[in-house]
Symmetry: D2
Subunit: 370 residues, 4 copies
């Protein structure tokens, strides 16, 4: 997920927040409270369906279990202490199996460059400065000079981004109760949240990926770019596989799957629309991913899941389902143009998250090797 | 290079700069001007041989060509417009050749985690903060919460770091003359330096690496950790290859070479000593790298070259030789512990720089696959 | 307060954290839970008396009211919606009364410059970079060039710093329950805490100060610099006033009071010791400040209160007493050298916090005018 | 000056740069080269009159002296080493003279709050994050919790901002020749420019202001908000003084003068227009300021001078005239609404720049006391 709210107080009356307000109106995410008051109540400030966080007043009421989460999902199948999730699939056997797909020797960069012109969701920022010019020198009789760069940014949650397992959780108890704010493998925010970096589930715990990647291109199936709020069904997936001459049975545990919706064409072309919502996976397809026991999903959108969800009471429910409950990773804002141009739908997906201790995600462009 | 100077003004009288002053004293890099005034003049503030930048007064004099750079080194063999340097070696043929080395399916992470405790050279900084706790939520009836992370840092020049081709240049004319501040392929700072990111030679121009990597472990050859200022000779290299049962002739154009000096054992154990200098390549070995036509050098130190250089008038002369003149990349602060434990000296080196537009380098841990 | 904890996990094993560990050992702040288990339990990791935050396990127990806070302290005397606290004392009458003290026309800067060499507590950071050189230009036929500066820092909580009313609160309910995490005037974190800036009690709510300032110099009373953990008693205050020929009765509601302990001499001279604790106000003197109905306290230390508190179960109890319960502001890391050299103990204290919306404090050097 | 260019490369094709391109088209600042090729040449990318920096090619030609700067302007009247400029006017006599104007005891805040919604020129950024929630605690049996804030921003050049003397200079020699990049008092960039903070002319050298301030309200004179590119003439100034019943002769050396153009009404209401240019001082009025020997100018605009200058070959020529040559300070993005509502045109202007070592400017809202 690239972001999921905007408080949109008066201090954001400036032009920069126009696209965010637009998003709320368009995307119509449900921020509804338990009890079903949803849209109607929140309508005023946040559009028909709102992203307004659950208020303290609501938190004071006795809350039932969150929707979709009536029972605990831990311990994980990799043990109660595991922090690596589905990256545990990447075993030597998996690497060897994947390596067999290297036949052309061709490398595809599957992401975008990082720059201030990229769409940034919500209040996230990306700034880069070159200190000095040059930063230092000349030194020595060989007269060396050098440049550095200084960035200030949500490094793991801007541009092409990889969600670590400390990014998305579910508030199981009362709003604000960190002992019941649960993440992958039941790890509670109370145990690992810290102002200076997560104490558990930091992205450094994720193992490098070197696995088989399958690309599902929905554009030929639909004959057009998919639209915001349009869900990819399992049937769409199957239609795409058939068009691409691929067997569903060839998608195996530990593989990675990627969706091209066409939405990525808006990147830097129409950032407002790009941020306003997106087509993507819904809960049906998420269930298919779980059953296939994959290690990672990815797409050409900022969340890889349908936004808004057709069920307006849900906010990024595929995130909470795949990432939080199953430890299945998500790679967002990818680009498959090269693969598609070459009609290469199967490749080795290689990516190592930048191991920033306590970070929630990682920058970096994965490669697809064929 | 991790850094190369410290102005060390009075505003740095605090404890944080102790290691830097120590470095200047120990490393003794020559900041001397052509003409040999070096150490004697600069001695007072910077140790016997100094890192003091060349002063405007000196710049006013007519300067001869920089040492080692009496003639221009451009255009590059990849054409006058090239910005990718030795990453051009990574062709499909190279990938296929390298992939043959994947036999075990084992992945080695060849770098360190990023954290505030890592040694940071000079005035570089690394700060990470988690905004809020959680950063947002709960949202929806599924009550999603999420964390982000915000970093402020010299992102491509801290920790395990990859030097891009906009990092190191040579002042060919008078100090401060950016039209003669030349980088790889002759690109002049006047044409690409910018406060908001390099306009040319940004790390986004570098192609992904997927090539054969050779590790040269000097520790068994020396019977100990190498010391600061100790140069790795070609003869040392050959002795190591022999111990490792490797053939020098098996190191081919476009391959990558890595040096383990033992110095990396100081990482987080004795950061002051780690930063105070280092063992590494000298000009002899750099020449060997050039003749071998490699794409990249790497090591367990912050510069991968000997610091201080035995020739005290030189400052990071291997950097200016390999990176600036030949476009050969450098990967610093690597860790080879896993490879060495398994006696794996040949592997596929895989790394994709994070394509931050206009950045001088990249974070990220490369992998070695066997 | 400049800071009050250090999690000190393994990722901080480097040299930078040495002073912090030292602090924990020296200062010995009690992190003990209600029930008196204090030091003994926490001892291992945090020194004899610890700063370890209250754990979730502890939070799960039924907790009695926090020490010193068995009843609620709101609404404030300035009304239930007030966010300006004791800056409400600064009325036109107060300004006119203060202005009478301007007799010499002399201005004293009462703080330190901001620079990387200043003592920074805990994990706070201060980094400044000049983007480019110059940042832009030359432009026009008049050939203008310009520089900017880029900082990344805890802007209101580094160096000479002014604590706003959103900085310090008291956890009244279970640990982590933001509905009972109470600040000035009873404002609850649940209502105003936000990843992008406090929604209430931001420092922009504070009114500019222009009031009578009284300096109390303890050094002549003690005949030496006061030491860490040494409390300034009301009797010490009276002895100092007498030495300075001042009347206690001349200190009136809305005035500001400042303490010189001598500790400030360590600034940039011995940052480790400076950060290791400090002399200052205790609860007795805080009570005197409350009865005097002052608007602000200040001092030459990073907290202006005794650290560690003689009662080892308390952590910065003067902060929670004066700031949280009474809205009385605190100005830290001041310098009174000029005033003392001129034997000027009464002056007009003038300071306007930088109104950063949602910030917890403010940078800026106040002036004393005589 | 808030900024003066936009390189506007392809990496800025996104929506964020729309206003910047608009500015270039509207404001039409001349970036013309000596030789008068100005607009015609640069037209394509930068609008009719351009802000394109002088190119290296142009720099290679022999350049005549910059327009308006055919002779050197140093040493300053405060001596060849002076770094404080016109703040030297603030003597005890001046303070006493100013203090006489304190009759009401009323304090006016003369600036805006700092927030992400404020107009930011060019590529400057303002980001604020609250680390954790809370940042730390609970600690002790008194259960203290606390918040910090972390900002990353061009701290002295965003929002209400005070220009220090290291901000604006003139390229006297060839473009890029730092030995002839001259600032106040002739200080050359080669001597003080540094990636980690200016070594001279940092804002910490400026003395606190406590002087008489005169507000000139142009809106009643014009009967409307002044427009971008509209210059305030000396005759306008006199008309305003007359309307306000003020004597020109009452404006004395060391006083400060402020201009209200009405443009400030666009703040956060229409940031694009606000940034697109502005009304303000031209060279005639600047000359009047010099003859009056004032210490500071200020206004409700981002540069306090007319943009674009009626002479299209000039870029912010009032800045280079007043700041660079005369050391007269400039306070930008002020707000005079309170003073105007109360018809208070004379007041004590009080401001102390935040003394960040090596910074080019300062944040902070000055106060006007009557």
């Amino acid at each position: 997920m690239t972001d999921c709210t905007e408080s949109d107080g008066t201090s954001d009356a400036g032009p920069a927040s126009a696209d965010r307000r637009g998003f709320l109106k368009t995307a119509g995410l449900a921020g509804g409270l338990a009890g079903g008051l949803a849209g109607a109540v929140a309508g005023a400030g946040y559009g028909k369906f709102s992203l307004a966080p659950i208020t303290p007043a609501a938190a004071a009421e006795t809350m039932p279990a969150p929707k979709l989460s009536d029972k605990k999902w831990w311990p994980s199948k990799w043990g109660p202490e595991d922090q690596a999730g589905a990256s545990n699939h990447i075993t030597p056997a998996k690497v060897l199996e994947a390596a067999k797909w290297i036949k052309d020797g061709k490398i595809y960069k599957l992401g975008h460059d990082y720059e201030s012109a990229m769409p940034l969701f919500g209040k996230r920022a990306f700034t880069l400065r070159i200190p000095g010019s040059p930063t230092g020198g000349p030194f020595g009789e060989n007269r060396l000079v050098y440049h550095d760069e200084f960035v200030a940014t949500e490094i793991g949650q801007v541009g092409t981004q990889f969600d670590g397992l400390g990014h998305i959780g579910i508030q199981m108890g009362a709003a604000g109760d960190k002992t019941e704010m649960r993440f992958y493998n039941g790890h509670a925010a109370a145990d690992f949240s810290d102002a200076y970096g997560l104490k558990k589930l930091g992205v450094e715990n994720c193992k490098p990926f070197f696995t088989r990647g399958h690309l599902v291109d929905l554009v030929p199936v639909k004959g057009r770019m998919m639209e915001a709020g349009e869900e990819i069904s399992v049937s769409d997936l199957r239609a795409a596989l058939q068009k691409q001459n691929m067997q569903e049975s060839d998608i195996k545990p530990g593989d990675a799957i990627f969706f091209n919706t066409g939405w990525g064409a808006l990147w830097k072309k129409n950032n407002d629309k790009f941020n306003s919502g997106e087509p993507g996976m819904g809960l049906e397809l998420a269930q298919w991913v779980i059953e296939k026991d994959l290690c990672l999903t990815g797409g050409d959108t900022w969340a890889v899941e349908v936004v808004p969800n057709p069920d307006k009471t849900l906010a990024f429910a595929v995130h909470t389902t795949l990432q939080t409950k199953h430890g299945i990773y998500n790679h967002e804002n990818l680009s498959f143009d090269g693969l598609i141009a070459d009609k290469k739908y199967q490749f080795v997906y290689i990516f190592t998250p930048v191991p920033i201790v306590g970070a929630t995600g990682s920058p970096g462009v994965p490669i697809g090797v064929t």
